[in-house]
Symmetry: C2
Subunit: 402 residues, 2 copies
């Protein structure tokens, strides 16, 4: 008998048929004698529909507290329906909202971080032999206000429960059957991996592979929660994410591309001490996640700063930039929303010379121009035109893995 946490995304619970599919997966494990906690997201397009309703009221800037109140209703619907489906299949179930399941978060509405999961209620329901269905993506701050964790937050919710309850396994169900060397819907020859390390997964998640939310992988690594990424449609093993894996032959584990970025350039900044702090402090105040940063020397002793931010945070970025405009002396500011970030990931990459040049060669061969380059111990990222992303991914994958 084990304690298993399972997480299903919005597309896996989109309608009655899919809910019964999830209910079947869940009850199978339950009937074997396991304790089962299921974390679900809002159904299909619910979140987008709710956002559209809010935009009708306030197209620019609806209050984030009220957005969280609004969006949290999405999971409330899916947990109730899934509990009904499980009961219809003859197993006892109880649905719990984020706060009922003990999720305490900080107060950053729309991007809250989990502070603690008090799993007492979940434990009590499991002890009554209930299957516990938990609303992902949401929690409660210290003022008793509903918060949400941001897109992909349901993965984090699942890992947080698994960590808090010392679960034996945390299974993340998706519409692919595991982690691939590249998105198999986009790259010909992409291969499924049996195992991958937290660090490699982290780079892939951060880089837009869209299999697992990066915060969930960070948390899984921190608390040593064994993850499995698997398909909700096919009954076969997925990819295990853990600390150390069997050495595989491939040096480059994956190729990923993130098109949802903005490339911001501030040109001709007056070179005074603390200028970079002034810029990035404003972005940090708006909770904007700045990714690649590149600073170069401009003409006449000025500096150029270029960085990437998630496109989803465009409104916050623009607010921060309008404050920056008043606080610093600069010549020009350009926001480019037509670029993408293409990356390769693999542990041990840094000790193998020539990986970077091989990547640049692959891109040059298909005529792709590189705007920016950034490297870490286990990844290399380049910024290229968004329309080159597809072609670039395939070329790089062919070079290293294909």
């Amino acid at each position: 008998m084990a304690l298993i946490v399972k997480k299903f995304g919005g597309s896996s619970v989109a309608d009655a048929n899919k809910l019964f599919n999830v209910a079947r997966i869940v009850t199978e494990d339950y009937k074997k004698g396991n304790d089962v906690v299921v974390v679900v997201s809002a159904q299909g397009d619910t979140t987008d529909d709710l956002i559209a309703k809010a935009k009708e009221i306030n197209p620019d800037n609806p209050s984030k507290r009220e957005m969280d109140m609004l969006l949290a209703s999405g999971e409330q619907i899916s947990i109730a329906l899934l509990a009904m489906a499980i009961e219809k299949l003859g197993c006892p179930a109880v649905s719990l909202l984020g706060w009922q399941a003990g999720f305490s978060t900080d107060s950053k509405h729309s991007l809250a971080r989990i502070k603690n999961v008090n799993s007492e209620r979940i434990r009590a329901e499991l002890d009554k032999r209930n299957i516990v269905v938990v609303a992902g993506f949401q929690g409660l701050n210290k003022y008793d206000d509903i918060t949400t964790l941001g897109r992909g937050g349901s993965d984090t919710s699942a890992v947080a429960i698994a960590s808090s309850m010392h679960a034996d396994l945390c299974q993340i169900y998706t519409d692919v059957d595991g982690v691939y060397t590249a998105d198999p819907r986009k790259v010909v020859g992409a291969k499924k991996m049996n195992e991958i390390t937290y660090d490699e997964m982290l780079e892939l998640a951060t880089l837009g592979a869209q299999v697992l939310n990066n915060r969930s992988v960070e948390m899984a690594k921190k608390y040593a929660v064994e993850l499995e990424v698997l398909s909700s449609l096919e009954n076969k093993p997925g990819t295990i994410v853990k600390e150390a894996v069997n050495m595989e032959k491939m040096l480059v584990k994956g190729v990923a591309c993130d098109k949802d970025i903005l490339l911001v350039s501030i040109i001709g900044l007056k070179d005074t001490p603390g200028i970079a702090f002034k810029v990035f402090n404003q972005l940090s105040r708006k909770n904007v996640n700045v990714d690649i940063i590149l600073q170069s020397v401009g003409r006449d002793g000025t500096k150029d700063i270029t960085f990437t931010v998630p496109k989803t945070q465009q409104a916050d970025v623009e607010e921060a930039l309008s404050i920056i405009k008043e606080k610093v002396d600069y010549e020009d500011m350009v926001i480019n929303d037509k670029t993408g970030k293409l990356s390769i990931v693999g542990a041990g990459m840094e000790t193998h010379p020539g990986v970077a040049s091989k990547m640049f060669e692959a891109l040059a061969d298909v005529g792709i121009n590189i705007h920016m380059i950034a490297t870490s111990e286990i990844k290399i990222s380049v910024i290229i035109d968004v329309e080159d992303c597809q072609k670039g991914m395939q070329a790089v994958h062919d070079k290293f893995i294909g």
Copy 2:
């Protein structure tokens, strides 16, 4: 400066335009310096849509706990959107779910009763000069599970807040501009009343006038909360509901009709002691509200028992009846879903002889057959065929008021 509680139903908040209409009404009173609490229902058809989703999963009998979890999401959406609309008009607003607003209820899922409203949080938000938008219809039981109060429960929520906070006025906004002598959409010549007593309103509400939920009127009477029923579309005074009103000339204050009833007849019950208890105890266990009861002597020393129940509780009624079938000795059981209850209401009616016969005459004149009659101090109800309801209401209204 006054404390005003305002309640808007689902049709008043059905879309962005209507939400802004409500926001305008609310902010007008706020800008005069008043403290304003707004209670809202789910938008338009949301509740029906959610019920349809549940029926897809379990057509017969979805768990009531999970139904409450599901349905409570409806108000969560409308409070968030209304708070956004109020903020868009430039006034500060904060939305609160039932439990955040302090609603404790008993544990009868889908028909919970409010035990207490701890209005501390509402008070704190008003003290910060926020307009407080509260989700009607919902609360929390002692197990920290979401409960709902049943259809029309938002009226009760509003009155409960008004009572708990000693509000100066509780305004119930509807799509009519006050309480009429009959439903003006159905009866020609229906007249608006300026004032009406709690007792008269109570009979009218119970009888299906569909202006105010009866539990809300009971509670308003008990705690002496002054109610105003008024239109959300026209800016003019409505009908005040209070303890004593100026004597008006009309003896019959209103004519109402309830088509959502089932007429249940149990024929040829063996006449043993406690037989009526056995029948009604089962219905009470299922929380079925039995209205008119008529017991008559049948053939061979048997009894016939006939009673009416709300059509909305059909599933519970049928469950209760199936148990009754096993516990008592009877000849036949008939459920008639093709009848309606037509009633006239007016304080002092019992001291004026001839009111009943005048009502029966009006019905006879248009050829309507009466199945059952029931009277109280201030009302007379008859059960007639449902297709006679419209004609009957008009005939009786013409006779007494028209």
